[in-house]
C-alpha cells in the first residue's frame, strides 16, 4: 500500500528495513547450517554454506573451481556471450517486428495468429530440434536462448504500440506529420516503456533457457558446470554455480533496467 501517512518516519524505516534484511540473511544461513550440521532428515546431502564460501574463495579449490581459477571465468564468459548474443538478436529482430505488428493492420492479421500458435511451445522443447537444425552446439544454444527472448520482446513491443494514447497520434497528424514522422517521433518513444518491460522479461527467460540448454547439451558454461559437478558429486561447486548464476542474472537485468531509465528520463515526474 502506498502509505501516504509515513511522511516523517520514512527514513527511520529505511534503516530498520536494512537491519531486518540483514537479519533475514543471517537467519537463513543459520537455519541452513544447523539443518545440515545436525543432519535433519536429508539435509546432510546438501553442502553447508560455510564450506561453499571457503571453496569459492580458496586459491587451491578442492574441486578445481573458485574465484581464482581460470576455468570459472571461462564458464562465466561462455554463458554471458551466449545470452548477450541471443538477447541482441532478439532485440534487433523483435522490436521492429513488434512495431510492424502493432502499427500495420495487415501484418498483424497475417502474422499474429501464426505467432500465437508457435508461442505456447516452451523454448526448452526446441532443444532437440535446435541441435538438429543448427550444426554446432554454440549456435544451438544461442538459438534456444533467442527463441525465449524473442517472443517476450515482440509481444511487449506490439502491446506497447497498440496502447499508445490515441490523442498523441491524432496530435501528431494534426501538426502535419507524415507516416514515418509518426513512427519515429510517436510510436517508438511511446512504446518504449513496454519495450523495456519486454526486454526485462526477455533477459530473465534468456538466462532461464540458456541454463537448461547448457545442462542438456552444453560442453562449457555455467549450466554445464552445475550439471557436471552433479555428475561428479561435487555439491559445493553446484552451489557456487547457482550463486554465480543468480548474481549475473541479477546484474544483467539491472543493466537493462538502467539503460531503460536512461532512455526514458521523461517518465520522471
Amino acid at each position: 500500500m502506498a502509505d501516504a501517512t509515513l511522511g516523517a518516519p520514512r527514513r527511520r524505516i529505511a534503516w530498520s528495513s536494512l537491519g531486518l534484511g540483514a537479519a533475514g540473511f543471517v537467519l537463513f544461513i543459520a537455519v541452513w547450517s544447523l539443518l545440515v550440521h545436525f543432519n535433519v532428515w536429508r539435509f546432510s546431502k546438501l553442502p553447508d554454506l560455510l564450506s561453499v564460501v571457503r571453496e569459492w574463495t580458496s586459491r587451491t579449490p578442492v574441486y578445481g573451481v573458485s574465484l581464482f581459477t581460470p576455468a570459472y571465468y571461462e564458464d562465466i564468459w561462455a554463458s554471458t556471450v551466449r545470452v548477450f548474443a541471443a538477447f541482441a538478436l532478439a532485440t534487433a529482430l523483435g522490436v521492429p517486428l513488434g512495431i510492424l505488428l502493432g502499427w500495420n493492420r495487415i501484418a498483424r492479421d497475417v502474422l499474429f495468429p501464426l505467432l500465437e500458435l508457435i508461442r505456447p511451445i516452451p523454448p526448452l522443447a526446441w532443444v532437440p530440434l535446435a541441435i538438429l537444425m543448427l550444426s554446432g552446439q554454440q549456435s544451438a544454444m544461442i538459438f534456444l536462448t533467442f527463441i525465449a527472448a524473442f517472443f517476450a520482446t515482440v509481444l511487449n513491443t506490439m502491446l506497447g504500440v497498440t496502447s499508445i494514447d490515441e490523442s498523441y497520434l491524432r496530435a501528431a497528424y494534426c501538426l502535419g506529420s507524415r507516416r514515418w514522422d509518426v513512427v519515429w517521433n510517436v510510436v517508438l518513444p511511446g512504446a518504449l516503456p513496454y519495450i523495456f518491460t519486454g526486454l526485462q522479461i526477455a533477459m530473465g527467460v534468456a538466462w532461464f533457457s540458456l541454463v537448461a540448454g547448457e545442462m542438456i547439451a552444453g560442453e562449457v558454461g555455467l549450466g554445464y558446470l552445475i550439471l557436471n559437478s552433479y555428475v561428479e558429486l561435487q555439491t559445493v561447486t553446484i552451489v557456487i554455480g547457482m550463486i554465480t548464476l543468480g548474481v549475473i542474472g541479477f546484474l544483467s537485468s539491472a543493466l537493462v533496467r538502467l539503460i531503460g531509465h536512461r532512455l526514458m528520463v521523461w517518465q520522471a515526474r
Binding site: 494514447d165 490523442s167 498523441y168 491524432r170 496530435a171 501528431a172 497528424y173 494534426c174 501538426l175 502535419g176 506529420s177 507524415r178 514522422d181 517521433n185 510517436v186 518513444p189 511511446g190 518504449l192 526514458m264 528520463v265 521523461w266 517518465q267 520522471a268 515526474r269
Partner: protein
Amino acid sequence: MASALIPPPGATAAGAISLRGVRKVYDSHGPAIVAVDDWTLEIASGEFVVVVGPSGCGKTTLLNGIAGFDPITGGEIVLDGKTIASASRSARPGADRIVVFQNGSLFPWKTVVDNVAYGPIVQRRMSRGQALREARSALARVGLGDVAEAYPRTLSSGVQRRVEMVRALINDPKVLLLDEPFRALDAIARSVMHEELLRLYDATRKTVFFITHDLDEAIFLADRVVVSTSRPARVKHVLRVDLPRPRTYLMMASREFLALKREVADAVHEEAENAFRLGEPELA
C-alpha cells in the same frame, strides 16, 4: 506578451467553417446509434464559438469530424469555401485545424521546446535549428521561457495546457479546436487558463471551436454559445454573448453575465437531465 505570436491579428482572413446538416451514425455494435443529427451552424472567420451539452452527447464526434479523425455519415463540413468532409469524402487531419485535447497530448518524451517545434519541423517549414529558435521565443513571449527544457510531466496541468496552445498556434492554423481542454484542471487553475486563452485569442483572432459542458466557462469565453441536445446532438439554442473584450474574471459576477446565463440555463439543465436519464443504465 502574446501579441507578438505569429501572425498579427487579421493577417489571414480565413477559418470560416460551415457545418451543414452534419450527421453521424454508429452502427457497428448492435442497433444503430445516431450520435449527431442535422447539425447546422455557420462560424465566421475569427469567431469564438463554444458548444455546450452534456457529456457523451456527440460534441466530440462533431469536433472529430472537423479535425478529420473520424468520417461523418451525412451532411458536409466546409472550410473557407472548400468542402473538407462529407458522406463521400472524409477529411484528413492537417495543420490548418489543430486540436487541443481534453487530457492533453504533449508528447511526454519530448521537452517543451521540442514539442512546440515539432509542427514546423515535420511540415518541413523550417530547419530544425530555426524551428527550435522560433519555439523558444514563442514560449518566452507567453512567459514560459524557463520551462522550455523541462519534460511535460514535471509541469502542472495548467502549464501543460498553455504549452499545448503555443504548440498549436506556432503553426498558424486557421482554426483551433478545443475539446474540453480544461476539464482536468481544478476550478482555480481553470479560471487562470480562461484568461490566458482569451489573451491569446485577442492577440491572434483565430477561429475557435470550443467544447465544454460548463456553462460559466462557455459564456465567459464565447462570442456565441451553442447549446447542443443530448443524443442525438442537434442545435437547441444559440446565445450571442456581447460582453466586451478583453474580459476579466469579475465579469462572471456581473448582472449582464447572470442575465445571459439565465437565458440558457433552463435549456442546458433540461438537456443535462435528459442525458442523466439516458445515461443511467449506461456504463461508466
